[in-house]
Symmetry: C2
Subunit: 368 residues, 2 copies
């Protein structure tokens, strides 16, 4: 596994030197983690022409104040306890022949950028842009294995909830219980704040769990995910509370289900991001729900719960194999509630059986 | 309450115009919340010479796409659904007579700063610095009232845990249970990730809950806090598991207790930040624990769990009345465990009875 990090860094280094920078400073936490494994909060990665260093905001616990070589990761780990590790990283380059340093301008603040400029005034600061984020889109099988376990954990937590009594319990409590179950099943934690919405709140984009209690006849929509070894997945389901759903509930559910299936079926290598969005969006628009749809129907997942690609009407780009994405359209009727169905899948060629569904909880409309 | 926001903005506006900027752009989330009340994630506040606007990253739920005046807050709320609200804010100033805009360079990224410059090339971009953070240090009584409730909730959650059976349960589970109890008692959520450390982990700075189970004879250290209406407090306690603590445990506990009391007693208006730190640190250093002490013994709390002032050896500045701070020294003996005792208090003049203790759970050494 530790080989992987060196290979990723070598790829980024090639890209940087092709763009004219002999060194790069990676500060965005998920990017640091991608290139250097688990790093302490606030650590930054300096990609040098020959060797790389991880600069940590406080002295390592083992007390090696002068730095140490992590042979597994092929990284020098250096403490920078008395200031900004990014500034300390630039300081390392001052006595070197490096003339240009690419930084993550979309993450670094103006103040930090200026401090780097002061400590290394002769260094030309270039923009690394989203080079690491782009590199992260297509996952390795070891990353997909983590996502698969994360999805399994989320499925288990959700499955247990469905067996418990729901009527009378608040959205907040159900969300907390789901998070506890995620950890019970081995998650490092929830992948994002668990969302539970009942009755008129169900299916609403951006809803946060409230003190509303589950009632007979409600739609109940749930969105949760597990983090496992840094990788985050997502599952969303909608259920109905009581013995039999109302006609409008069955109708709405079938519509969203069909839209979500169309989106899933669009996940083939080479498909445009916007085409997948269109496949999931179009059935909802045709049924008269154009207004109020969320601005996208899915997105990439990985070390962050929300990363590229974006499955949205104006998104540019095409899916590759081994890209994990969510597909989760939803409809919300103000005052009545709604439906949201969300899966995490990995794009696979048809020859390999097509998209790999990671979140396998049933999508039948269950009456609980 | 809504008056309060207008008053805070007026104060900041005075400060900005004294520094030569007729307008300011506040982007740091806690600062936006301080000046404009609860704002959606990603919203930014434009402080104009005459009127203020809150720019939100997506259209408001009520669908008023052209913006609306929030009369309570005395703010215009504007959607900026198609891009960065900070850039949209700068765009508003283009046709105006405003020549200089102060921005939060310690929060704004280089990329966003550049985008603002492109949309408003004639606007001079100045640095607002930490003006809002400074303004936030001294709290109003309405803010202290929220902190008082947050502390009460944390005390209740902790009190209930102490009545339950602890031996055999994991650190992770105890932490999750505390968080559930916080919400049970009315918290919006935990103020920060709850920390539980047992046996050799107890009292260790930076420990994260693990799968270690509580055993007889362990020290158990717990650190938790509630968020209530945005305000966050902190309480830390250490207990011993079993019928009677060992001599070394009693000794270490008494030492940390004395250090923490010395820190608390140092909380008077006019006391230097470093003097409070020194009062709490010195007893531990004298007892031979200089190495391994955490770099500070306390810090401010409010809309963030960790804000100014810093109670640390090199901190400059003096305490004012109505500043809530934590005082929480700790000692950790590698392989054995340790003690950490942490309170949230509000600095008050002696005439008003001295420091107001918000977290009132006993600091006697309890054997559980």
């Amino acid at each position: 596994m530790s080989e992987v990090y060196a290979v990723r860094r070598a790829r980024l280094r090639d890209r940087c030197s092709a763009a004219g920078s002999a060194a790069a400073l990676v500060s965005r936490p998920a990017n640091v983690r991608y290139l250097a494994g688990g790093a302490p909060p606030g650590a930054v990665l300096l990609l040098g022409p020959d060797e790389d260093a991880l600069l940590c905001p406080r002295a390592p616990v083992d007390g090696a104040a002068g730095g140490r070589l992590d042979e597994q990761l092929r990284l020098t780990v250096l403490p920078a306890p008395n200031g900004d590790p990014a500034v300390a990283a630039a300081g390392i380059l001052v006595p070197s022949a490096v003339e240009s340093l690419a930084v993550e301008e979309h993450h670094l603040t103006v103040a930090r950028h200026r401090a780097i400029g002061s400590v290394a005034p002769r260094l030309r600061l270039a923009d690394l842009g989203c080079a690491v984020e782009q590199q992260r889109i297509v996952k390795g099988e070891e990353e997909i294995a983590c996502l698969r376990i994360a999805a399994e954990i989320a499925d288990q937590a959700l499955g247990e909830l469905l067996e418990s009594i729901l009527v009378g319990r608040t959205e907040r409590h159900l969300a907390l219980e789901l998070e506890r179950r995620l950890v019970d099943h081995g998650a490092d934690g929830p992948a994002f704040p668990t969302n539970v919405a009942t009755g008129p709140n169900s299916g609403r984009y951006g809803h946060r769990p409230s003190d509303r209690r589950v009632e007979e006849g409600d739609f109940l929509s749930v969105s949760l995910g597990a983090e496992y070894r840094g990788y985050r997945c997502l599952i969303g389901r909608t259920f109905v509370i009581g013995t039999s759903p109302a006609d409008w509930q069955i109708e709405l559910y079938e519509l969203v289900f069909a839209a979500q299936r169309a989106g899933r079926e669009g996940l083939v290598p080479g498909a445009g991001y916007r085409d997948v969005d269109r496949a999931a969006r179009q059935p909802l628009e045709s049924a008269g729900y154009a207004e109020g749809l969320s601005p996208r129907t899915g997105h990439g997942v990985g070390l962050e719960i929300d990363e590229d690609p974006q499955l949205a009407p104006a998104a540019m780009g095409k899916l590759d194999a081994c890209v994990p994405v969510t597909v989760g359209p939803g409809v919300h009727l103000p005052g009545r509630g709604g439906v949201r169905i969300d899966d995490t899948l990995v794009v696979r060629p048809e020859a390999d059986g097509g998209p790999e569904l990671l979140t396998i909880t049933t999508k039948e409309l269950l009456a609980l």
